[in-house]
Symmetry: C2
């Protein structure tokens, strides 16, 4: 039974910072995740039981449980009652997260660039007013941007924001992702609802994305909400399907 024995690289989990602001469960879960992604804890390996781990780390069982649960929710671990906790088989991939495309590309170590095609205040279209929860006929900021990665156009981004954001300068939009800009203004996105689909290219999209006329596009519509639950942004994006796709890990509750 040595092969599937419980595994726990203990030097990795020796020094917990009890004074700093980082929660203990988070310290444990992030190191655990790193150990799995790096292969230090291999696919199929069994973890020790929760109480033993807690004893080893000097933590209570609820804290250990929470740390493990975080990693389970990312799809890297599987729990079974009466059995134990195991690393999933198969290569690990990254989670779809609540970030903008710009940050996605940055994280993937590409060189993102943005060209602002349109930046103006407009009367809100009826369908957008509905999504944003603003009254019909009010003014909103309309953006249309072309996003490239390593010099290749990847996406066309249309966004509508409440008029409070009309002072976002065009130059900043060329340098940063929209969500980065919003965060720097103290607006944190907490919830977003998005719909992913496909359609045929039309208008000037083929030219701007450097694809064949009438070719397929991957599309995404998104409404983003801040911490108070108010809609902050509505976006209607389209992506070159040979350059971008959406990855998700789903976990049964």
């Amino acid at each position: 039974m040595a092969a599937d024995q419980a595994v726990w690289p203990d030097d990795l989990f020796a020094d917990l910072d009890r004074t700093g602001p980082v929660p203990l469960y988070f310290q444990v879960s992030s190191r655990l995740e790193a150990a799995i992604r790096s292969g230090d804890i291999p696919p199929g390996a069994r973890l020790e039981n929760e109480i033993a781990i807690g004893h080893r780390l000097g933590l209570s069982r609820p804290t250990v449980r929470r740390a493990i649960q975080e990693v389970v929710d990312k799809g890297l671990l599987v729990r079974r009652r009466g059995i134990g906790t195991q690393v999933v088989q198969g290569q690990v991939t990254r989670q779809v997260e609540l970030t903008s495309l710009y940050e996605d590309l940055q994280n993937a170590q590409h060189d993102p660039a943005t060209r602002v095609l349109t930046h103006e205040t407009r009367t809100v279209p009826a369908d957008v007013a509905d999504q944003l929860g603003v009254s019909t006929g009010s003014d909103v900021l309309y953006l249309r941007r072309q996003r490239s990665s390593d010099g290749v156009p990847v996406a066309l981004l249309e966004n509508w924001l409440p008029a409070d954001f009309s002072d976002i300068p065009r130059e900043q939009l060329e340098q940063q992702g929209l969500y980065q800009i919003l965060r720097s203004r103290g607006v944190a996105i907490r919830v977003a609802k998005q719909r992913i689909g496909a359609r045929r290219e039309h208008g000037d999209e083929a030219e701007l994305l450097d694809i064949e006329r009438g070719g397929p596009l991957l599309t995404m519509e998104r409404v983003a909400y801040d911490a108070s639950g108010h809609a902050v942004e509505f976006g209607r994006h389209c992506y070159r399907p040979d350059m971008y796709s959406f990855e998700t890990t789903l976990v049964a509750k």
Copy 2:
């Protein structure tokens, strides 16, 4: 301050079943979710604080927290330290869940139908062997199905499964979703990794989906894992983009 006063329709949360197998946190969270989706607790409404709710329901604070957290994770509630818990603004939509398309369509109260185009044992293709984690050259069950909703073709589904499942009868595949069949055989899908993209139609897809030749398709590739972390199924699906799209709610952690 009467307008945004804390709200809690107390008759909805009076009778908790402490004897049955349904966890208390789940009883509370599911009623809470229903109350929000139905509008009984309106958008923007503030909940009582956790201790008060616990006292009202005769529950400890961790149990109440867990119930609320479930609803937060679905994107229906937003928590702010020092402030409280509020219902998000904006209309609520359903979550992308770990179900098959067949069940999605059933839930949406359509009439799904399946035509099995291919049902045979094949040598596994190299790329699929990689995804499924089976050795190259081994046999797998290959399925190709056409899925319709209310008589209109919606999707073409290609699936590869380990040879243990070769005895799944063709007739059952016409009547049930694949995940339903797997569940009835004691295989529960716990984790799935999927990639959503788009491409141009090719081959016989235009005919089978009743779309224009060369038109756009929404695509999804998925590897599904069971409770022990082993890959159970690899799927490569394509959807008529005018009939299907993927909705997701993202919540910042």
